[in-house]
Amino acid sequence: MPAPARVLICRELRKRFDEVEAVRGVSFEIGAGETYGLLGPNGAGKTTTISMVCGLLAPDGGEVLVAGTPLTTHSVAERAAIGYVPQELAIYPDLNARENLHFFARLYGLSPALARARVDEVLAVIGLTDRAREQTKSFSGGMQRRLNIGIGLLHRPRLLILDEPTVGVDPQSRNAILESVERLSSEGLAVLYTTHYMEEAERLCDRIGIVDLGELKAEGTRAELVALVGQHDGISLEGSGDLHAAAGAFERMSAVQAASVQDGAIQLLVDHARTILPELLAKATEAGLAVSSVEVSEPDLEAVFLHLTGKALRD
């Protein structure tokens, strides 16, 4: 399968504010239909990186290419490829939802008719069609967040940049936002998503870059990152039958790194637990083990972050 076309390429981005080097040589690429997460604690340099990617901030070094074209603070037409959703709500509270969307749609160069059509579509996507004519200052935080995201989608960008879009959002709205991002990615949009929520990065992102103190510490798929720190998934099997015989059978499987019986259950260390699980259950049946419960524990990005930086993600 050919690699997806690179929509965003960042090479060796650097930015210094007085004595503080906020971004130190950050490089990553995002392909069409790919969601790339920048995962790191507050102050890691995520927003500064995004500001340079959007052309809001001139980098001290490095370059940004959007759809193969260099993007600087002086670029104009190239910006049409970018949809930007800032971390803070960036909407006009004394305009209604439709007016907010229509203004930015027109600013992105959509004709009046096309702007109206896209506004209707986006209102439906973000679930605000019924509230379109209400001033946004009367909206709940979640509704405002959804509108904030909707503005970034109006002109069908090739690259959608979301800077911590779920901060301060209630669980229901947060889930709606994550579902929207998943849907957009499946439609071929390249998404750059920054967050300090590990669960969001794990759920949404095809690849993740772990950033701390302005540096990209590591990047890759979730599995690649986990593998990077040498951790394996754990599986705990309970059931009736010869546990030791079953454990011996499991140990002969190539994906199983270790198998032992502890406290009346078989403890396994495996590669890719979710992939190997059907094969394991079949092997258990062959070994005469009637499985009554299965518990999978996968090493998460929290552990990866801890391993790479020596501190917890939310420190």
């Binding site: 901030l57 190239e78 305009l95 007016e99 203004f103 930015f104 600013l107």
Partner: protein
């Protein structure tokens, strides 16, 4: 999207916001109109307004000196429109007229007034003042005193000439007690209604234009500026849209105020084209001055505070509350360092039916302010629009 369309789009959005934000309407129209009305009423007689007093006259003498007082002293002032004289038949009627505020004061010429004057005897013009018209009473006293001084002069002259009794012709030939000079072009002055209409309009336009240019800082704070700057438009287009908002709001505010004060307060702004030139240049200067202040500030609150201070100081110095230009001296010279003073001077130049050319000088001075402050603001605009 072209830069012009994008700037107009920003203008449309800003105007929609301002229409919904009632404070803009208050600052741009309501407050200046109310203040112009109040100041115009309070200072009607103090600034350029025609001062007129009504005086009563009780003539119990009917002699030559009484006729001379009436015809040679009071009549000229009456002809010049400074006073109105009402004859009262009796002393009681004259006193009642003063007590009931019908007149500011009543002159009483006692019986034997002319005889006493002719013989060099003691007599007096009595002035009964109204307690509610201290200025009018003072003017009446001054007129009576002046008449007495003239008589003394004539008596002394007559005594020096051999004691000839004073006659009516001598009184008539003496200079009048109060001279009324024509108002020259040099001391030309607006009536109170027009002065405060123009003064308040140009004072508040410095606040009104803030709704455009200063909203850049508000949008930066609220994140919407970043959103606009990520869009495929030049940052100069965003700045242009904001400047356009200031100019449209300021021009609309001043035009509405000029029309409203003309219709409601009877202000005489003068030639419409001349007024238009002054309004446009005045708004331009206000926008440039406020833009410069905005580029110095870091936050919208800071900009608002500094701009208010600058608008207030320039407004006071420019004579929008008091006609400093009429005062002369250092203060009048200093006031010319403000666009407001030149604006008011331009409006003054239009009094008496002058054409648009009468405002070319003041308009050029106002444009000079706009060019200087606007150039500095433009050089600093990058800071305001830093992406």
């Amino acid at each position: 999207m072209t830069s012009t369309r994008a700037a107009l789009l920003i203008l449309g959005k800003d105007l929609r916001q301002r229409v919904r934000d009632r404070s803009a309407l208050l600052v741009a129209i309501v407050v200046p109109l109310v203040l112009a009305s109040i100041f115009g009423l309070i200072f009607h007689n103090a600034i350029g307004g025609r001062v007129t007093f009504t005086f009563g006259l009780v003539d119990q003498d009917h002699g030559a000196a009484a006729v001379a007082f009436r015809q040679q002293v009071l009549a000229p002032l009456e002809r010049n429109g400074l006073i109105t004289v009402v004859s009262e038949p009796t002393l009681a009627a004259g006193r009642h007229a003063a007590d009931s505020r019908k007149v500011s004061a009543t002159f009483v010429l006692p019986p034997g007034f002319s005889t006493a004057i002719g013989n060099g005897g003691q007599t007096a013009v009595t002035v009964i003042g109204s307690v509610d018209s201290s200025i009018g009473s003072a003017v009446a006293h001054s007129i009576a005193q002046s008449f007495g001084d003239r008589l003394d002069t004539i008596r002394i002259a007559a005594a020096a000439a051999g004691g000839t009794p004073v006659d009516r012709s001598q009184i008539a030939s003496a200079p009048p007690p109060i001279s009324v000079a024509d108002i020259s072009a040099r001391s030309r002055q607006l009536d109170a209604g027009t002065f405060y209409a123009a003064g308040m309009a140009v004072f508040f336009v410095f606040f009104t234009v803030q709704f455009g240019i200063s909203s850049i800082l508000e949008e930066r704070r609220d994140g919407t500026l970043a959103r606009m700057l990520v869009a495929p438009v030049r940052s100069s287009t965003v700045l242009g849209g904001k400047l356009l908002t200031s100019i449209v709001l300021g021009t609309a505010s001043m035009a509405v105020l000029a029309l409203a004060t003309h219709l409601l307060l009877g202000a005489h702004w003068g030639n419409p084209l001349g007024v238009g030139i002054l309004i446009v240049t005045g708004v331009l200067a206000a926008t440039c001055v406020m833009a410069l202040v905005a580029t110095l500030a870091r936050t919208p609150d800071q900009a608002g505070a500094w701009q208010s201070m600058v608008a207030l100081v320039l407004g006071m110095l420019g004579g929008t509350f008091f006609p400093l230009a009429q005062a002369g001296g250092v203060l009048a010279a200093l006031s010319l360092a403000t666009p407001q003073a030149w604006f008011l001077r331009g409006i003054e130049n239009l009094t008496g039916g002058a054409g648009p050319s009468a405002v070319f000088g003041p308009a050029a001075a106002i444009v000079a302010f706009a060019v200087v402050t606007g150039s500095i603001a433009f050089m600093r605009a990058g800071r305001l629009l830093a992406r």
